[in-house]
């Protein structure tokens, strides 16, 4: 297990390094001079020079990359040009909304998908199976932001169960009531994000289980005297989980990035709002940092999934 772990840590570090290089090149090299890019064509040469000074552009590219990288490792993402505040703080303020939203959606998606997928697989060919497959077929095809709008119409405008958007001013607050209010504000967005992902996950769960149920060792287990149900729970499920884990890992990336769109519909002051403002204001420092953060999150999640593989499958642990 240790060797597997070390191997994965190595590839994690390498991925992060290369990803940061790609982002750095895209944001700080491709546009030419970032300072004149950010200020637009009508800027005065003195203003540009001042910004170049402030951004530390007067040194070599490698030096700049290195400074940026070491800065990030210490939690320093630079200073936003438009807001004149540290980017790290801005991101932190937004993350307390975006990250819980993605996690909330992931939990919902898993809670819906597992029972649905298992049920459909065990009752293969039955009416239950057909309806689960039908609903998931719709769930995959539905654009999540449109689904979100429909939910606003139904639950916020017509039924008035939820507010149509926004996040409590006090954030997560101190009291339980504050906490619940925050959760409530995230509920519709989380459902909108979760439903299409749950549909995909349920289908993967079903087909993975059905594949596993045709394996030879399932027959062996039946020959020992296990019932179909016992075989499913004791032998098929754990083996079927391996492809499901992959999808869960991929989904977290979609949920985090997709959250950006959903936040717009519910007027949530999350990372999405931050990045769209930054794009219109050409605040490259913020764009660079948020993108790096999103990519970082995806890579970390994939790393976690790899470790989970190791736990689920002894063959990987021994490095074969």
């Amino acid at each position: 297990m240790l060797r597997y772990f070390i191997k994965k840590i190595q590839s994690l570090a390498l991925s992060l390094l290369v990803a940061s290089l790609v982002i750095f090149v895209a944001v700080e090299v491709v546009p030419g001079d970032p300072a004149s890019f950010m200020l637009g064509i009508n800027a005065q040469p003195e203003t540009i020079a001042a910004l170049r000074e402030q951004l530390g552009l007067n040194v070599s590219l490698w030096e700049r990359y290195f400074t940026w990288l070491t800065g990030m490792l210490q939690g320093d993402f630079g200073t936003s040009y438009t807001y004149r505040t540290p980017v790290a703080e801005m991101i932190q303020d937004r993350m307390v909304i975006s990250l819980p939203l993605a996690v909330y959606a992931l939990v919902l998606s898993t809670l819906i998908a597992f029972p649905a997928g298992i049920l459909a697989a065990t009752k293969r060919g039955s009416a239950t199976d057909t309806s689960v497959m039908g609903v998931t077929q719709l769930g995959i095809a539905i654009p999540n932001f449109w689904f979100a709008m429909l939910m606003v119409v139904v639950f916020a405008i017509n039924l008035r169960w939820f507010s149509a958007g926004g996040f409590p001013r006090g954030g997560w607050g101190d009291s339980f009531a504050d906490y619940m209010a925050a959760m409530k504000a995230l509920t519709l967005p989380a459902i909108a994000l979760a439903l299409p992902q749950a549909s995909i996950l349920a289908r993967v769960m079903r087909s993975s289980l059905l594949d596993t149920l045709t394996e030879d060792y399932i027959r062996t287990a039946r020959a020992k005297g296990l019932s179909k149900r016992q075989t499913l729970w004791r032998h098929a499920l754990r083996n079927a989980l391996i492809p499901v884990l992959t999808i869960i890992g991929l989904q977290f990336a979609f949920l985090l990035a997709g959250g950006i769109i959903i936040e717009k519909i519910f007027f949530l002051p999350g990372l999405g709002q931050l990045i769209f403002q930054a794009i219109t204001q050409r605040d490259l420092i913020v764009v660079e940092s948020v993108v790096m953060l999103l990519v970082f999150a995806v890579i970390i999640v994939n790393f976690t999934v790899d470790l989970a593989y190791g736990l689920a499958d002894p063959r990987l642990r021994s490095g074969k």
């Binding site: 405008i157 769109i261 990045i275 990519v295």
Partner: protein
């Protein structure tokens, strides 16, 4: 299962009909739409669905049906081109990786794949837009880049199992190079996989284009797009919910149609499934 049975299978037929409808709508929109697509007509703004505006009009008095027809054109074009980019780059990479399994080239290609996988298409679009500004081309490139590792991976996976086959060894005994083997033996045998994945990526591309246009990172005005129609309807959702309903339905039905067709094709191509249905 014979081809005729397959063509009769309900899902595939429904999928084919839906896809045909939207492709036709896109084609017809080049020559004719009920009203001009960019025909701003303020006096007739926000008409509820009724004759002659079958699906109503928006806040500028444009006919929603006409815009949906023209929007189909954009959606399909973006998704097709993005699939094209993904295949043209991804498939050769996948073939090369499989032909050099375990060697440095394979390692580099697969690592590169993992890296691109870490950039969701939305993030790529954000990067491109931040630097070059928003446009339909950005959407195509962003979704296309996202498609590359998908096709590379599926090609490599399919090709790897084929390289184990004895007929590949026979071809090598006949003195054929690995490039020639990849083209003559491997590519035709992974084609099925690619077609199925192609329809899936096509439908994902339509969803992604709508999402990008919705947040303003994709197609720009005045080109009609389903995603932007939805974005524009957001503030009017209290008064005119139908403005949000129809473009959304268009996306849903197109994607559904493509997915059903993809499932049907997979059933046809998968010998295991075909065996089971006999």
């Amino acid at each position: 299962m014979r081809i005729t049975d397959f063509l009769k299978s309900r899902n595939f037929v429904v999928g084919k009909i839906l896809t045909t409808i939207f492709c036709l709508a896109a084609l017809i929109s080049f020559f004719w739409t009920p009203f001009p697509v960019d025909g701003v007509d303020i006096p007739n703004k926000l008409q509820a669905p009724a004759w002659p505006y079958l699906l109503g009009t928006d806040h500028l008095g444009r006919d929603v049906l006409s815009m949906i027809m023209a929007g189909a054109r954009v959606s399909i074009a973006v998704a097709v081109l993005a699939v094209g980019i993904g295949m043209l780059v991804g498939v050769p990479l996948g073939l090369a990786a499989a032909a050099n399994k375990g060697k440095l080239l394979d390692e580099i290609i697969m690592r590169g794949n993992d890296l691109v996988f870490a950039f969701p298409s939305l993030v790529i679009a954000i990067l491109i837009t931040a630097i070059f500004g928003a446009s339909a081309v950005n959407a195509i490139i962003a979704i296309g880049i996202f498609n590359i590792p998908v096709f590379a991976r599926i090609t490599r996976g399919g090709a790897l199992s084929l390289w184990e086959r004895d007929y590949i060894l026979s071809a090598r005994v006949a003195g054929k190079s690995s490039t020639r083997i990849s083209l003559e033996h491997i590519l035709p045998n992974v084609m099925n996989l690619l077609i199925v994945q192609g329809t899936i990526q096509f439908s994902l591309g339509i969803l992604a284009e709508a999402g990008l246009s919705f947040v303003g990172l994709g197609v720009q005005p005045p080109i009609p797009s389903w995603g932007r129609m939805l974005a524009e309807s957001q503030t009017l959702i209290y008064t005119s919910p139908y403005l949000a309903l129809f473009p959304g339905m268009a996306i849903l039905l197109t994607v559904l149609g493509l997915n059903l067709m993809g499932d049907g094709l997979r059933d046809l191509f998968d010998p295991k499934l075909r065996e089971a249905r006999r």
